[in-house]
Amino acid sequence: MRNPESIIEERKSRHRPQTGPNAVIEVEDLVTHYGERMILKGVSMNVLENEIMVIMGGSGSGKSTLLRHLMALEEKTSGTMRILGNDIDQIGRQEFLDVRKKLGVAFQSGALFSSMTVGENIMLPLYEHTDLDALTMEIMARMKLEVVELSGFENLMPSELSGGMIKRAAFARAIVMDPKVLFCDEPSAGLDPVVASALDDLILDMRDAMGMSIVVVTHELDSAFKIADRITILDRGEILMVGTVEEVLASKSERVHALLNRIPEEDTMDPDEYLNRLVGEDNPGTAHL
């Protein structure tokens, strides 16, 4: 890990926290299981207006599962979750759909539809949820492509783009409906440091320009320290700490220290759980759309 002082100095020069007072996402005592295995063990956290919240943790810590819950893609075992002031267990189908329209997501793989051009991918939410005419949708798609510096690429197929470009195009699609909350799953994974850094700048710019809250799941420390207003650290399904970059860097917790310095933890997994994982009995899979 880099020197904490240098990280803090660098943040002071370019990070402008503008966090609002209200929570856009509130999670209380969230518990979830995959089969018999408990993945999240009573997670409580919130994401504030105009905040970049980074969720960090080692492999298998539950950060991707938590992100899927925040996007309302998973069924929880217990706990409550409020998105944009709506308790997702209490609202009806139409209200839930209205909430969903205010969320954007850029998946790790980009998840662009391979049968559509980049432009069609970006226009899809507009086509499905608005009554705009085709020309207006095209203009909006071009505007969003300009935001992510992909102007002129609207007629290419996703297979014709590089990894970094696919992620940018995914960002463009995620922000086309001007969401209140943007979710990013491992935005810099698999990218070279220069492209990864440019994506970090893009996330900061989008937050500043559009005033959205952004939730980023990453295990890239440099990226997390660069963009985060607050960091949630997950460990084995539990929250280890929530705090600003400065608070995380100053933490005396051994487990936080181990994560930041990439020190492998001792293997304390239950032998039965390990065996189940090997034979795949804890992976339920789903055959639903």
Partner: protein, 269 residues
């Protein structure tokens, strides 16, 4: 001894798991059909209508692009039936009555069956592969987060297109099979095409046509549902997609043949 007991328990457990998996797959298929009907009927009210463009695109892929192969194979089947029919009836000196056998066999049996099997191999597998790939690439999740129902967006257009195009292709297969058989009968027995057509129209009733087309509608639903259920159940990346695709073709063809037999049994009682 203990090993034998463990082995027996494992076998029973395996049978149980397979049975549960089968029931689950059938249940998922039923839910899928119910959901599809819901979106077809109430999509507009839910402000998520089924897009005509998507249905037309699927119709092109499932139906229009399959026309050459359907024509070729149903034509071949028609000639094959004529050859076998004439050969068999010649034993009794009744080869001139071959038209009856050809007409019933093509319209009631072979055109719907061959069309169903071809569409299962061509489009059912493509549907499973497409949905499986979308699932592992998180495209299905992306749709959900965008507030787009995947069943309405992906399944309903394919199902509707199948329901329109499989009977349409069957109808085309009927004409091609009968026409090709007529050409052979004309060449072999010297019966004119006009006389052959007259005999065929005389023999066939609307019930026969309905029998074949009714079956093809059931095949269409089976192909679509089996393709989607297998695609949605994909696990394990590209290899999983390959397995799901193969499984969907095998299951769809098996389901078509079994349904064909059951339909024939029920319809002829």
């Amino acid at each position: 001894m203990a090993d034998h007991k463990v082995s027996a328990v494992e076998k029973i457990e395996g049978v149980g798991k397979t049975a549960v998996g089968f029931v689950e797959a059938v249940g998922n298929g039923g839910i899928l059909v119910a959901e599809s009907v819901y979106w077809l009927m109430f999509g507009v009210r839910e402000r998520q209508p089924v897009r005509i463009g998507a249905v037309v695109q699927q119709m092109m892929e499932i139906g229009i692009n399959a026309i050459p192969i359907i024509l070729m194979l149903t034509g071949t089947i028609g000639v094959m039936l004529a050859i076998q029919g004439i050969h068999t009836l010649r034993i009794f000196g009744a080869e001139s009555r071959v038209t009856i056998g050809i007409a019933f066999s093509v319209v009631r049996e072979f055109a719907p069956l061959i069309t169903g099997i071809l569409v299962a191999g061509r489009s059912g597998s493509a549907l499973a592969a497409r949905i499986g790939t979308m699932k592992i690439n998180q495209e299905i999740d992306a749709l959900k987060v965008m507030g787009i129902n995947p069943t309405r967006f992906l399944v309903v257009p394919a199902l509707v297109a199948m329901l329109i195009m499989v009977p349409a292709l069957t109808l085309l297969g009927n004409f091609m099979g009968l026409f090709a058989a007529g050409l052979y009968v004309n060449a072999d027995l010297g019966i004119s095409l006009a006389a052959y057509a007259h005999d065929t129209i005389d023999i066939l009733s609307l019930d026969d046509l309905g029998h074949g087309l009714g079956k093809s509608c059931i095949f269409a639903v089976l192909i679509a549902v089996i393709g989607v259920v297998n695609g949605a159940g994909v696990q394990g990346g590209a290899e999983g997609v390959g397995k799901a695709t193969t499984r969907s073709v095998v299951q769809a063809i098996s389901a078509i043949i079994v349904t064909d037999m059951l339909f024939a049994f029920v319809a002829t009682r």
